[in-house]
């Protein structure tokens, strides 16, 4: 079977899985990732539902397998600038952004980062910690190569410093590095650009940005993570205290005509997991989840909810809070919501209630990744109303986009959790194999 090439866009778990499968099928795979490391959103998670196993424990081996595969060519810190051609022979132009580090020489030792004087917010820790301008995005990054971020590097912005250059024993720092364009010829393309968390700041009623102790689900995830900025110690922003009561608010920006009409699919389970983790770290801690419908539809999900209720005492309140205010003295957020109370006669009655808690976690909507729209445009893909890649034949071609030869998997084509993304990634690989097999047959016949 002659080898053909495939382009995979996006180095998250879906892109990684698609790349590994395709490479194992015998294709040459070019995996383009815009950040300096593969790993994607999953790398930022602490544990994963419903098994509670450590995300990095199961992801890291995949990252290493992917990067180490003889037929996978990693193009990190790169993005797609141009595409033409049709299924079977696409021509793709990829831009490699300068790292200002010679990856051949760099050993990822991190000396440059230690000496680098410039501190900037750390994306991996969603701004909860600082990184240097010369940095490794996270300790298990693959490839283990440093990157100098041109926006914040003193030398590149103000023309002085170069401390990293003196520090680096390997002589890997290279400020002469220029952006380069890489031309690829591929038979098919797999899109796996994933999601961004929706910024809940626009929902003024929830006070995110105004009230210190109102944080987002992803921020919480980093706080509870053993390798996060607080070493897994849950400290609330206002005073670093460990919260005793946490409220998780669901559907923040989801199922909301003013923001995202769709259901983000993972937040119910995500919140439940976060509540369980909180309780595992601090058995005294009490969590309440304010939800609309508890959408736990996957394998072992209902059982997970039951465990959360019974073993970890997580409280589920069916209500969509109207607003969150702040108790000025304590800095405690106060959640205002409708509750149903029952009279002695057992007749329910709705009334407005409030609950003062130590920390509020907003389980924000998840939206298609920011640059995904441009990428889609370059590829000529049709997007649906919410910005997800639209799928031609939902029923029998669930990973085929509107452009033949281009397939989409994972969150970029609709909200879904890790297992479903992994499944779609493999499905995309199968579709690639189908059309390229057909293609090569046609060539034979021609």
């Amino acid at each position: 079977m002659e080898t053909q090439s495939v382009l995979v866009i996006g180095g998250g778990i879906a892109g990684i899985q698609a790349s590994i499968d395709l490479a194992n099928m015998g294709f040459e795979v070019y995996l383009v990732e815009e950040t300096p490391s593969i790993g994607g959103r999953m790398a930022q998670l602490d544990k994963t539902f419903p098994t509670n196993d450590c995300a990095m424990c199961i992801l890291a081996p995949k990252m290493i397998e992917c990067a180490g595969h003889e037929r996978v060519h990693l193009l990190t810190y790169c993005d797609v600038v141009e595409l033409d051609g049709t299924a079977g022979d696409f021509r793709v132009t990829v831009r490699r952004k300068p790292r200002y580090v010679d990856v051949e020489k760099c050993t990822g030792c991190g000396d440059c980062a230690q000496k680098c004087p410039r501190r900037v917010p750390d994306e991996f820790n969603v701004g909860l910690a600082k990184r240097k301008a010369a940095y490794l995005p996270f300790p298990q990054a693959v490839p283990r190569k440093m990157t100098i971020d041109a926006q914040s590097c003193l030398y590149l912005t103000k023309g002085r410093c170069r401390v990293c250059e003196e520090t680096c024993q390997a002589g890997a720092i290279d400020f002469e590095q220029q952006e380069e364009l890489v031309e690829l010829e591929v038979g098919a393309i797999v899109l796996a650009t994933g999601f961004d968390p929706f910024d809940p700041g626009s929902l003024k009623e929830y006070g995110y940005g105004g009230i210190d102790n109102v944080i987002t689900g992803l921020e919480y995830e980093r706080l509870i993570c053993a390798s996060g900025p607080t070493g897994g110690h849950l400290k609330r922003p206002s005073d670093g205290q460990v919260p005793r009561v946490i409220a998780f608010i669901q559907c923040v920006g989801s199922r909301d005509v003013n923001y995202q009409p769709y259901c983000s699919s993972v937040c119910c389970m995500h919140a439940t997991k976060e509540a369980i983790l909180a309780n595992e770290h601090y058995p005294e801690l009490k969590s309440f989840i304010f939800y609309t419908d508890m959408r736990a539809v996957g394998k072992q999900f209902q059982e997970y909810i039951i465990r959360a209720r019974e073993e970890y005492g997580v409280g589920y309140i069916r209500s969509r809070p109207g607003k969150i205010t702040e108790n000025e003295e304590t800095g405690n957020p106060v959640v205002w919501y409708d509750e149903t109370i029952y009279s002695d006669a057992g007749d329910p009655e709705r009334r407005v209630a409030s609950m003062e808690v130590d920390l509020v976690v907003l389980c924000q909507a998840l939206v298609p990744h920011s640059v995904h729209a441009e990428t889609a445009e370059k590829l000529g893909l049709i997007l649906d109303g919410s910005g997800f890649v639209s799928i031609g034949d939902r029923l029998f071609r669930p990973v085929d986009t509107s452009v033949p030869g281009i397939f989409a998997c994972g969150f970029c084509q609709g909200p879904q959790d890790i297992p479903d993304s992994v499944i779609q990634a493999s499905a995309a690989a199968a579709r690639v194999a189908e059309i390229l097999a057909k293609k090569s047959k046609e060539l034979e016949h021609a």
Binding site: M56, I58, P139
Partner: protein
Amino acid sequence: MVSSSDSLGNGFEPKILVFACNWCSYAGADLAGVSRLQMPPNCRVVRVMCSARVRPEFVITALSKGLDGVLVLGCHPGDCHYSEGNYFTRRRGLLLRKLLEYVGIEPERFQVRWVSASEGAKFAETVERVTEQIRALGPNRPRSEVLPTEPGDK
């Protein structure tokens, strides 16, 4: 003779053998390094694919040969890369701990811990604690009691 104690002549420094599984705990130890978490230099890590590879005979031998402690590290139950391995580790650990204690070997000298790939800090803390505990206990047995021979086939 060079045991770390004599090399620097400042009191008893235990020698501790650590078995770490490739997928979680060894990765956790690496993370501790990458994060530059400083810890006492008394532990020597031996990599195995799964903590379940560590047969109790290894632990017993190490202690009989004069090492001051043995630490076995594996994935948290449920996380085992081979799905079941660490459950066997757990049972062996439970039994061996009691047996050693019964013949008068302090339980601190043989410990099992679960360390995930993201628990670099836990690895460092574990090494720290175990080293202190064993340092406090003193040598496992008089050096003179042990044959200066490497098991193997000479």
